[in-house]
């Protein structure tokens, strides 16, 4: 019978995706919190100008993996990272790497909007200032406006740039945090459940933003919402008990995943 074999379908999908170069490569990544092993030899690559969604049940290691990508785990005392992660060609765990510079290249947006207790303007200009990306007031003005534009917030805040960022609504605060991340012109933006504290309208705005940001940035997003992963990403990786179970084209992942555990998880079944 001439049914197109699954292997053939996969090959076609892979060929399409294979044309996109890798921005970050994770090789045999394992993470330990003290004695407890949280990640088991994860091999996951992040493609350039692509939104990669990390999904999986709580405690599966998806946030842990995300945090290895800009060495956020360094801030946790007993955390050890094994394996190799590269950004372009650079090993980000190499001792010669400046972590502050790394985090400027790989920015992060957190679950709960966490603007600095400063004005909207200062929230956005802070990063460029400490990284010395601008000197004159005009330069800062331009960066602030452009970043807020990119975060889709400019029109809502342009008349009150010097009011506190904490006075904005939750959704606006989250977009302010995205503007803050964008302001230092990162190459990769990591998002750890960026919409879980937002209402559906604010969520839609952030999702629209993710879609637009993809042209300029590489995005990795952790989300508990399967629908969100399906909507915003092009590649999806499924984690379970610290293992990478499956990484696939998002369209395939949500219509016909290869792994039974992925299948059960996205369909809300228990195996």
């Amino acid at each position: 019978m001439n049914m197109m074999s699954e292997a053939a379908v996969e090959k076609a999908l892979d060929q399409k995706m294979n044309a996109v170069p890798f921005k970050m490569i994770g090789k045999d990544v394992s993470v330990y919190y003290g004695e407890k092993r949280a990640l088991f030899d994860v091999n996951l690559n992040v493609r350039e100008n692509t939104v990669t969604a990390l999904i999986g049940p709580s405690g599966c290691g998806k946030s842990t993996f995300l945090r290895t990508l800009n060495r956020m785990n360094d801030t946790i005392d007993n955390c050890r990272v094994m394996g190799k992660i590269t950004l372009d060609e650079d090993d980000i765990y190499d001792p010669s790497i400046d972590v502050v510079e790394l985090r400027a290249r790989v920015g992060m947006v957190f679950q709960k909007p966490n603007p600095f207790p400063k004005s909207i303007y200062e929230n956005v200009s802070y990063g460029p200032k400490i990284h010395g990306l601008a000197r004159s007031k005009a330069d800062f003005d331009q960066i602030v406006e452009q970043s807020l534009q990119k975060a889709g917030l400019w029109n809502e805040v342009k008349d009150r740039l010097h009011e506190p960022g904490t006075g904005l609504s939750g959704g606006q605060q989250q977009r302010l945090c995205i503007a803050r991340a964008v302001a230092v012109s990162p190459e990769v933006i990591l998002m750890d459940e960026p919409c879980s504290a937002l209402d559906p309208i604010a969520t839609a705005k952030v999702e629209e933003l993710i879609h637009e940001l993809r042209t300029n940035f590489t995005i990795v997003i952790v989300t508990h919402s399967m629908q969100q992963a399906a909507r915003v990403s092009q590649r999806t990786a499924m984690f379970h008990l610290g293992n990478l179970v499956e990484e696939n084209d998002t369209d395939k992942m949500f219509t016909n995943p290869d792994d039974q555990r992925t299948q059960d998880y996205i369909m809300g079944r228990f195996g």
Binding site: M4, N256, G268
Partner: protein, 236 residues
């Protein structure tokens, strides 16, 4: 397959499966009765088939509504999504099968006034037997969700096509013999075409089941032996 964490979700899906099976049973019955009514010139039976069609139409609407509500409420993924989309498609195919049975039943009056050669009726009955067998098997496959069996049904549709083509030739011969045969034979031709179409719908359903089970579309041309569309051309 494992059950959903939200158990009412399973109920929603079971409802769809159950209604599809019911529709299948009724569609089968309508087709069988329409052919029996035709062969025996049984007007009362024909009338029953015609009125049964409304039940099938209603069932299709209900399945469609349930599917829409389930999609809206549960945001189904992967196999669940294919299951629901498949239900909509299969319900539409079965509804068409019912329509074809109804159309055959409507022609009983016109055909019954003429005396039919016994041989012709037997030809039609044979065609209907094959189509019904096809339909019955595809409904069994729906219950088992076996992609292999779905495939084998898809491959067998050409038997029906071949018989339909020979029936077509036979009807032409009768019409040429005696112009008074033209009216009943034209009706019979439509009836034969109806039955042949049922085979096509059974094949559609088989393809849908294949997709539901595997997530892949069957590719390649369906085997076709329906050459009736060229009978009479090129001096054949």
């Amino acid at each position: 397959m494992s059950t959903h964490i939200v158990s009412v979700y399973d109920e929603d899906l079971k409802y769809l499966t159950r209604r599809i099976s019911e529709m299948g049973g009724l569609a089968e019955q309508m087709v069988a009765e329409s052919v029996r009514a035709l062969v025996n010139a049984d007007l009362a039976l024909a009338q029953k088939v015609i009125s049964d069609d409304t039940i099938l139409d209603e069932a299709e609407r209900q399945i469609g509504e349930k599917a829409i509500v389930t999609i809206a409420k549960r945001q189904p993924m992967a196999a669940d999504l294919r299951e629901i989309m498949g239900s909509i498609r299969i319900a539409a195919d079965l509804e068409r099968v019912g329509d074809l049975g109804k159309n055959t039943a409507k022609r009983v009056i016109a055909v019954s006034s003429a005396s039919l050669p016994r041989q012709l009726a037997r030809g039609l009955e044979h065609l209907a037997e094959l189509a019904l067998m096809q339909l019955k098997e595809v409904l069994d496959v729906y219950a088992s969700r076996s992609p292999e069996k779905a495939n084998s049904i898809r491959e067998r549709d050409n038997e029906i096509d071949a018989i339909y083509t020979s029936l077509f030739r036979e009807l032409l011969t009768y019409m040429m013999e005696d112009p008074r045969n033209i009216t009943p034979c034209t009706h019979l031709l439509f009836c034969a075409k109806n039955i042949e179409r049922i085979g096509d719908h059974a094949t559609n359903i088989a393809e849908t089941i294949y997709y539901m089970a595997t997530g892949a579309q069957p590719v390649g041309e369906r085997p076709k032996d329906d050459t009736a569309n060229t009978v009479g051309a090129f001096g054949k």
